[in-house]
């Protein structure tokens, strides 16, 4: 019924339309809005900034004034706000739900870390200001260094590497410098089959050949094969521990001894440090160098791919080879050694300036919040959560290895055998359920790998819901409901994307439809 203004006063009985036949004129679907590229919205005249006027003056550009149009599209501020807000809403994120990417440690990113990193005294300082004006910044570096050395039980640290892979490079450079110093020219680095791609790639950058060590049936490094591979030409082993199957290398001490026995070094990939932080000190295991992904264990945000930070702790043997810069305690407070000193063994410099200060602040805030008691809890809860997921799924999915795992659990695709459903399909169906898929097809040691790392940030309820969804999907797969998987995702902003097309005919940038005026 309508009142006299035409307002409905009773509840209508909703009629129904099939969603299938439903296309809106705008292309939007309620709150799910499509969005064009900035180049299709804005133009070279529009701008979202106001700037002081510039009067006439004689330029000193040496005759190199840029003439032609660059082609940059501008948006007014409200348009830009809306554009990027809409884009953001097409993303999945930790803030939205469980993000079980194995090997990535997608944990809660506390906002107090963001807040303190933005204090003007920490965020708005220049790397080359006089050292007297940045004593607090050096203190942050020094404190973080102390925490990391204490947690790993290692005597030295290089703070400048910018991510895990950069840390690997730093560690291997130190190893090679140590060998060079001994006058030894070894050529091989050992790495297990299950190693992350950055390990072999890094070894190559240092001029090493990589020899792959197979895994045993139970997911560990094959100790016998490893020992066979050792020899005078082996510079180092790169071992991830806990490894990428989510298992602690129980022979780690023996491995360390074996590599040390032949005069090589033990590089530990610390990407999985979350499982053991506060519980085990890598220094006690014979490690010579290990990078720590601050963006994994210590919660600095992944930011859609970075930035991260990869400080590297070093053993006594490698400490002299650490790169510049590093903080020292001088007479008037902290000082920074920025230059290779005469006769120094330092292998060089990893980056301009002093590393990822912004990440250091966040990581230190995370550590201080937890304290030494809380960090051990982090390890325990992360391991507990992973084991709970494994225990709750292994009757219906195929766990690759028996027994307790560390912070992540590995399944393979045997449970899908005969269903015609691949790991990828299974993963894409998880998207419809509202979850980011786990890591797939890594590590390479099992077929159709599914590596699940819940992290300590998940509640039991959250895990139970996740387990419920996975069990449901497994049941559907086993019931032969193939389309649920092969067509997935159905409910995401986009359907499955054609990656082959993207690689075959790469379109890596927008080009102005008719002719492109920007290259002068």
């Amino acid at each position: 019924m309508l009142n006299k203004q035409g307002r409905q006063t009773d509840i209508v009985n909703l009629t129904e339309l099939s969603q299938d036949s439903f296309t809106t004129h705008s292309g939007n679907k309620g709150l799910e809005q499509g969005e064009l590229l900035i180049y299709e919205i804005g133009d070279t005249e529009r701008t979202g900034v106001d700037l002081e006027e510039v009067g006439e003056f004689k330029d000193r550009l040496g005759g190199l004034t840029r003439g032609h149009e660059i082609g940059l599209a501008g948006l007014s501020e409200p348009e830009a706000m809306r554009h990027y807000t809409r884009l953001s809403r097409m993303n999945y994120a930790i803030d939205m739900g469980l993000y079980p990417l194995g090997s990535c440690t997608m944990k809660h990113n506390p906002r107090v870390n963001e807040k303190v990193a933005r204090l003007p005294g920490l965020g708005d300082i220049h790397p080359l200001q006089p050292l007297s004006t940045v004593q607090g910044a050096l203190e942050v570096m020094d404190r973080l260094a102390h925490w990391l050395k204490t947690l790993t039980g290692m005597p030295a640290i290089a703070m400048s590497p910018k991510a895990g892979a950069h840390g690997e490079l730093c560690g291997l450079m130190a190893i090679r410098a140590a060998l060079d110093k001994r006058g030894e020219n070894r050529s091989i680095v050992l790495a297990p089959e299950s190693a992350h791609g950055t390990n072999p790639a890094t070894a190559s950058l240092c001029g090493y050949k990589v020899k792959s060590i197979p895994a045993t049936e139970d997911g560990h490094v094959d100790l016998a094969a490893l020992k066979d591979a050792l020899g005078p030409d082996v510079a180092a082993i790169m071992l991830t521990n806990p490894n990428t199957c989510g298992l602690f290398e129980r022979d780690v001490i023996e491995i360390a001894e074996a590599i040390h026995d032949i005069g090589g070094y033990f590089y530990c990939d610390g990407a999985n440090f979350n499982a053991i932080v506060g519980k085990v000190r890598p220094g006690d295991l014979g490690v010579d160098a290990m990078h720590i992904n601050l963006h994994k264990t210590f919660s600095t945000p992944h930011g859609g791919g970075g930035p991260g930070a990869g400080p590297v702790v070093l053993s006594e043997a490698l400490a002299p080879f650490a790169p510049v810069p590093y903080v020292v305690h001088g007479k008037d407070g902290f000082s920074l050694v920025e230059h290779l000193e005469e006769g120094s063994d330092s292998f060089g410099r990893m980056t301009a300036f002093h590393g990822q200060m912004g990440m250091n602040i966040r990581a230190l805030a995370f550590m201080m919040s937890h304290g030494s008691d809380g960090l051990a809890r982090v390890a325990e809860d992360s391991v507990l959560n992973a084991n709970y997921v494994m225990a709750s799924l292994s009757d219906v999915m195929t766990a690759s290895f028996d027994g307790p795992c560390m912070h992540e659990c590995l399944f393979d695709d045997r449970f899908l055998n005969g269903s015609g459903i691949a790991t990828l399909d299974f993963a894409k169906a998880m998207i419809d359920e509202g979850y980011h898929p786990m890591t797939m097809y890594f590590p390479l040691v099992v077929h159709g790998a599914m590596l699940i790392e819940p992290t300590e940030s998940e509640s039991k309820q959250s895990l139970d819901q996740f387990i419920g969804s996975l069990r449901h999907l497994v049941a559907e797969a086993k019931a032969g409901n193939k389309e649920l998987f092969s067509g997935a995702p159905y409910l995401a902003p986009l359907r499955r994307l054609d990656e082959t097309l993207a690689a075959r005919k790469p379109v890596l940038r927008w080009i102005k439809p008719e002719g492109n005026g920007e290259n002068e």
Binding site: T47, G48, L51, E52, D59, L61, L64, T65, I70, L72, A73, Y84, L87, M90, N91, A93, I94, N109, V116, G121, L122, G123, H126, P127, L128, Q129, G136, T150, A165, H166, G197, A201, I253, G278, K279, V280, R281, N293, G303, G304, G306, P307, R349, M368, S369, H370, S372, A376, R377, P404, K428, I431, K460, P493, L494, R496, L497, E499, L501, R509
Partner: protein, 449 residues
């Protein structure tokens, strides 16, 4: 602990389900001797308020750039970043997402990367760009490695007017793969000296633009000489705002352009995180390092974006990868893109012109001082000043008077006594005329003292 959702009850129920009785049973693969019996010797947990206080306390020991007249540059520049940028990158959907490996639920990050790549290509005047490197210096190292891969030749020549820390980074990164020759800065003011060094083994020459001392040079002739020898021109830009005012490296024939993108969208942050820009020609794209985002279609034929050409990358190609980079500068990239989108062509050019005009003004003012000389013929927003007194001391003294007056060259060349009276002075839009006058009068006083 506020970040840990499991309760005591949850924990015991979960242990039950797993079938063990104590959490340490899950750590049974750890050698007994290595499992810690008590917490490591570090402080216990803290309330958020205490954490906040601790950092405020450390922050107060620093002098923020924004609190004083500020003239430091040398590869990191203080620009005003619109508030929109920082608000937007803090949206959880951007901040707390991983690398966009699942494109169906990562279109936000991916489309922004596609826009970023386009912007970088346009600004540098190149055909394609990647999705970022760690920073300008590591991008520079990667460029040299790429030149070797692309040309299969071993010798790289670096101009001495390249940022000295970049030179060190390149030398370190290529230590075991490349031969590096550095040409004295002083000799590079004529491009011919560089050209003379090129031989059949040369894979690239690396030059900076504007160079470390602020000078601008046309590198077209160098490019021609390199191309004649099937070698590449690598141009490094540490102040990306300059490209709103001066000709693009692409227009001079650069094959690879790398840059530090910090100036756009990103704060000083004591040197990091920053954002490495990497652009090249289409035909070299398969030897390019780093992630790249490309356009494609979804199952319904709708346009979408994915990470692509990943067969160059470590996670697929392992030891044969073009680089070991994995995590890059994601969020800094986003900040760059949003800021650049706000600027647009008009704003970017206006910003560059404003920087340049202020720099010219300060150079003119400084030149009026007795014994002070601006050493540059040309420059963008930074130039080298020679003082009649020690530059490091002058800067220290100005600090006491609340002025951050620039970067003394001896901070970067501690062993070159000829540079000890010289400093780099950068002038961005954040510098007011009053700031300039304070610098000038303070310097005057120091000189006359």
């Amino acid at each position: 602990m506020r970040y840990l959702p499991l309760s005591h009850d949850d924990r015991s129920q979960m242990l039950d389900k797993i079938g063990v009785s104590h959490i340490d049973d899950l750590f049974r693969d750890v050698p007994k001797s290595a499992l810690l019996k008590k917490p490591v010797d570090l402080p216990s947990h803290m309330s958020e308020m205490q954490v906040d206080r601790n950092f405020r306390h450390m922050a107060e020991k620093n002098i923020p750039a924004g609190s004083h007249p500020f003239f430091c540059g040398a590869g990191a520049y203080r620009h005003y970043v619109p508030s929109t940028v920082d608000y937007m990158i803090q949206r959880g959907e951007f901040l707390t997402a991983y690398t966009p490996y699942q494109p169906e639920i990562s279109q936000g990050t991916l489309q922004a990367l596609f826009e970023f790549q386009t912007q970088v290509a346009q600004i540098t005047g190149m055909e394609v760009a990647n999705a970022s490197m760690y920073d300008g210096s590591t991008a520079c190292g990667e460029a040299v490695l790429m030149a070797r891969r692309a040309t299969r030749k071993k010798k790289s020549i670096l101009s001495g007017t390249l940022h000295p820390q970049y030179i060190e980074v390149v030398k370190t990164a290529t230590k075991y793969t490349d031969d590096i020759a550095v040409v004295n800065a002083i000799d590079t003011y004529s491009v011919d000296t560089l050209i003379d060094q090129i031989d059949d083994d040369t894979n690239c020459v690396v030059v900076q633009y504007p160079d470390f001392f602020g000078n601008l040079q046309d590198y077209s002739k160098l490019a021609d000489a390199l191309h004649a020898k099937k070698a590449l021109l690598v141009v490094v830009v540490t102040e990306i705002v300059s490209l709103g005012a001066v000709r693009s490296p692409g227009s001079m024939g650069a094959d690879i352009v790398v840059g530090e993108g910090q100036s756009i969208g990103n704060g000083l942050s004591f040197g990091g995180p920053y954002v490495g820009l990497f652009a090249t020609r289409q035909k070299l794209v398969r030897t390019m390092p780093g992630r790249v985002c490309g356009e494609t279609v979804d199952g319904d034929g709708k346009r979408g974006y994915v990470l692509t050409l990943s067969t160059r990358e470590q996670h697929i190609r392992r030891e044969k990868a073009t680089s070991n980079i994995c995590t890059n500068a994601g969020l800094c990239t986003l900040a760059f893109t949003i800021h650049m989108t706000l600027l647009g062509e008009k704003g970017f050019r206006h910003l560059a012109r404003l920087n340049h005009s202020k720099a010219v003004k300060l150079a003119d003012k400084l030149s009026t001082l007795d014994g002070v000389e601006v050493l540059n013929d040309s420059f963008f927003n930074e130039f080298t000043v020679s003082l009649p007194i020690d530059a490091t001391e002058a800067i220290e003294n100005m600090t006491a008077k609340q002025i951050l007056g620039g970067v003394p060259l001896s901070r970067l060349y501690p062993n070159d006594a000829s540079l000890k009276n010289q400093m780099l002075v950068a002038v961005t839009e954040t510098v007011t005329e009053e700031d300039m006058d304070r610098l000038v009068s303070e310097l005057k006083e120091l000189i006359n003292a």
